[in-house]
């Protein structure tokens, strides 16, 4: 009998880690070669792990949600008659062999293996399960520039558990030298690993029914992926920008009639025309008279950034969660082009193909709660932006019309704004303009 350890391979091209989705075997099970052990999720795909050995599962190194780094143990086996591995690791706390830890990953096409000390923004915060090495480097600051050094020195730092970001470089141009690393390692203990509970895979839906505890009264879903990113963005927004919200209910019958007229025109053939299209156009026009709603508060530099362009974000519910892709330079688009852009944006978001470029650089957003049949709400600002407009459902309601009461198509707009940058007067002016255009599209003639 011998213990064999299956270490997590690079399952894509240049990937550095995977999350365990779930196991299909338990400790003590006898498995055959290539029998599926479970599933892991990489940044690219959920894949099945076939067993590289025939034998008995001795240890599963982590449960659903655990993030395992490439080269770290994932399953240990007891294998009949196999030669003992060069150094049989102890039962708990397997440490990957030095050669494994320092191995430079081959990459065939395109993607480079991320250096392990903050060479680029890390996709997720690294969290170690209890079975992981006791002394792991602390997570580097995401996005921080990698300290200048040479590959051999980076390897030395990695082997010694030294975070290069913590080492002052004494070489030319601040280059971190071997001596710097060694002296730092001499009087600085490596920071302890965070012993946080295991975190889970992206969305709960990906886990599959076979691991969900359906009969339990409550289940705990790890907070990860888009949900976690959304939460962080909402917290950042709610607790940095003092937000105020205003409401305006208008008679949008004229806008609905305009949509009908446009739909009948040949130049709008094949273009999806919805109330959102008119709202988006009205917003762009109203911003010309009330530009500060489109500016940005730059706390770090103590400046207000006057953005003379509109990148219009649209909150979109997709299978992967909430995203706010934006239409670049929406203010330059005519109504038809804007309608086409909105349609494409929604299709792309639904298909889960929104690109990072589409998600960044927004200046103002719309959230269309009307599609859910909701009248209105108090939207929370998309982080970094100053205003967000919620569009409610268009309803036929009794309304004052020409001195009497008639059934009219009524719509409620609500606007949340960052009170650091915008005051009630400006926000009100903007909201009133949007409302005036939608109530009577002809009023645009008086504005531009």
């Amino acid at each position: 009998m011998a213990i064999k350890v299956f270490t997590l391979p690079d399952l894509g091209e240049g990937l550095t880690e995977s999350d365990i989705v779930g196991w299909r075997v338990a400790e003590g099970d006898t498995v055959a070669l290539n029998q599926v052990l479970g599933e892991v999720e990489t940044a690219k795909a959920v894949v099945e792990l076939p067993s590289p050995f025939a034998g008995v599962v001795r240890k599963l190194h982590g449960g659903p949600g655990t993030t395992v780094r490439v080269g770290e143990p994932i399953v240990s086996f007891e294998v009949e008659g196999a030669p003992a591995p060069p150094a049989a690791p102890p039962e708990a706390g397997y440490v990957p062999a030095a050669r494994e830890a320092g191995r430079r990953e081959a990459n065939l096409v395109g993607y480079g293996a991320a250096a392990e000390t903050g060479a680029r923004p890390t996709r997720r915060r690294r969290i170690y399960g209890s079975a992981e090495p006791a002394a792991a480097p602390a997570p580097s600051r995401p996005g921080a520039e990698r300290p200048r050094s040479t590959p051999p020195v980076r390897k030395l730092a990695r082997d010694l558990g030294v975070d290069l970001a913590q080492v002052p470089g004494t070489g030319s141009n601040g280059l971190v030298t071997r001596a710097d690393v060694e002296s730092h390692a001499g009087h600085a203990a490596p920071p302890p690993a965070a012993a946080a509970p295991a975190a889970g895979a992206g969305t709960a839906a990906r886990g599959g029914g076979w691991l969900a505890g359906a009969q339990e009264r409550e289940a705990r879903i790890p907070i990860k992926g888009v949900r976690k990113a959304t939460a962080a963005a909402m917290v950042a927004s709610a607790f940095t920008a003092p937000q105020a919200t205003e409401f305006l209910t208008i008679d949008a019958t004229a806008s609905m009639e305009l949509l009908e007229k446009l739909r009948a025109r040949h130049d709008f053939d094949g273009v999806k025309l919805t109330p959102l299209v008119l709202v988006a156009k009205a917003l762009c026009l109203a911003l010309e008279r009330n530009p500060s709603l489109n500016w940005r508060w730059d706390e770090e530099h103590g400046e207000i950034v006057q953005q003379n362009y509109v990148n219009l974000g649209i909150a979109a519910a997709s299978e992967r969660g909430l995203t706010v892709p934006n239409i670049k330079d929406a203010h330059t688009l005519d109504l038809r082009a804007l309608a086409v852009a909105l349609g494409e944006l929604a299709d792309t978001a639904r298909a889960g193909r929104t690109t990072p470029a589409q998600l960044s650089g927004g200046t103002i957003s719309i959230t269309n709660v009307g599609v859910f049949g909701i009248d209105t709400g108090t939207p929370i600002l998309h982080p970094g932006e100053t205003a967000i407009l919620a569009v409610g459902a268009v309803r036929r309601m009794p309304w004052e019309y020409q001195g009497g009461i008639a059934l009219r198509q009524v719509l409620t707009l609500s606007l949340s704004f960052d009170h650091r940058l915008v005051d009630g007067a400006e926000a009100s002016g903007f909201l009133a303009d949007v409302g005036a255009i939608l109530a009577d599209p002809g009023v645009v003639l008086t504005m531009v």
Binding site: A45, V46, V47, E48, P50, S51, A106, P151, L156, L160
Partner: protein, 374 residues
């Protein structure tokens, strides 16, 4: 030209006709033109084709597992394309020369590639796979469509030398959108090069469906270049075999280049680094499962009384042996030295490379120094 079958949607409008000799249910369809090319396919040979397809499918699945187990860096699965590769591969003569793409494991198997040949590039052990002159098959091309130019050039040279051999190049639907592919067809037609273009239209260029890049069936393009083309059911091993034999005969006889579009389906991911569920409707895969090339020939063998238990056991045992052979060959490949990358760029010494090799060896020595200094 007889067109008994009707193809699924695969570029152009749906239901474009193609050559089919074996229906998805495994019923043999008579064809006045192509049947003569199958005259020698008796029971033994039918069973041989079945064995081939099962074996390459098993090899392909084993290689996919080896990638998941960290033994291969990457693997491009060919699951679903067995009939196109075995049918055409078994139509080739030993002296024909093949310029394949990276997914043509089944063709390499027909050419006599050894287990280690199939995996060593994907393991990162060697910059190239087999000896091209032993198999009469060039190394797998990774650059999409580039091999079509190599094949055309090789075929032109063969013609200038008066050789009566055919050159065959394999590529996918995505490659037909490449400039290289179109240039190759222009040259092949202009010089009447003895080359067969064999397109495995597996419906997906990574995540791009073929209908996006081909408004008409791909087989409709070659005639515009002056190249004769056929559209065959790529999941029908008999249709692929007959059409390839027939086309090769024309090519060898000096009638100019030919083109075959084999309509098939990539049932797996583009490579092991891809997740097709992100872009593909699962119903589509289910539809294609009903057209599975291996099941289809199995059903035909059954109806012919050639599918006994003994035969099936023998097929399974041979496939298992191939999988075990592949695993053993893969895991026992020697680690390449770090400096071997310089060895096969030029046939003789080269001053610039020698200098780079020297620099790189000192760079590698830097790691040893760092490890030694611990």
């Amino acid at each position: 030209m007889s067109k008994p079958g009707t193809g699924p949607e695969s570029g152009g409008k749906s239901g474009e006709p193609f050559i089919q000799l074996l229906t998805p249910a495994g019923v043999r369809v008579a064809d006045p033109h192509f049947d003569q090319w199958l005259a020698d396919i008796d029971g033994d040979r039918l069973q041989g084709l079945y064995q081939d397809m099962v074996t390459v499918r098993r090899i392909d699945l084993e290689a996919t597992a080896l990638q998941r187990q960290g033994e291969l860096a990457l693997w491009p699965p060919m699951l679903g394309q067995e009939a196109a590769q075995i049918g055409s591969g078994r139509a080739l003569a030993p002296e024909d020369f093949v310029f394949p793409s990276y997914r043509d494991t089944g063709v390499a198997w027909c050419r006599g590639a050894e287990y280690a040949d199939l995996v060593k590039v994907w393991r990162g052990n060697a910059p190239s796979s087999w000896d091209p002159y032993r198999l009469n098959m060039a190394p797998m091309q990774i650059i999409i469509g580039a091999q079509t130019l190599h094949a055309t050039g090789y075929a032109m040279a063969a013609k200038f030398e008066g050789a009566e051999t055919a050159t065959v190049t394999y590529f996918g639907d995505g490659a037909t959108s490449q400039g290289d592919m179109n240039e190759a067809m222009v040259f092949a037609a202009s010089f009447q090069a003895p080359v067969l273009f064999f397109c495995q239209n597996n419906q997906w260029a990574i995540s791009e469906p073929v209908r996006v890049q081909a408004q008409r069936p791909i087989a409709d393009r070659p005639p515009g270049f002056g190249i004769r083309s056929l559209r065959v059911d790529g999941n029908d091993v008999l249709a692929c075999l007959a059409a390839t034999r027939e086309s090769l005969e024309r090519v060898r006889s000096g009638a100019g280049p030919c083109f075959i579009e084999a309509v098939t389906y990539r049932m797996g991911p583009h490579t092991t680094a891809d997740d097709p569920t992100r872009y593909r409707d699962p119903n589509e895969l289910e539809d294609w499962r009903t057209r599975d090339p291996v099941d289809r020939l199995g059903a035909y063998l059954q109806s012919e009384g050639l599918f006994g238990e003994e035969f099936r056991d023998q097929v399974r045992a041979a496939a298992d042996a191939a999988a075990a052979g592949l695993r053993e060959a893969c895991t026992s490949l020697p680690e390449p030295g770090g400096l071997e990358v310089f060895d096969h760029v030029y046939s003789g010494p080269h001053a610039v490379l020698e200098r780079q090799k020297d620099h790189y060896s000192r760079y590698l020595a830097g790691f040893e120094a760092a490890e030694g200094g611990r």
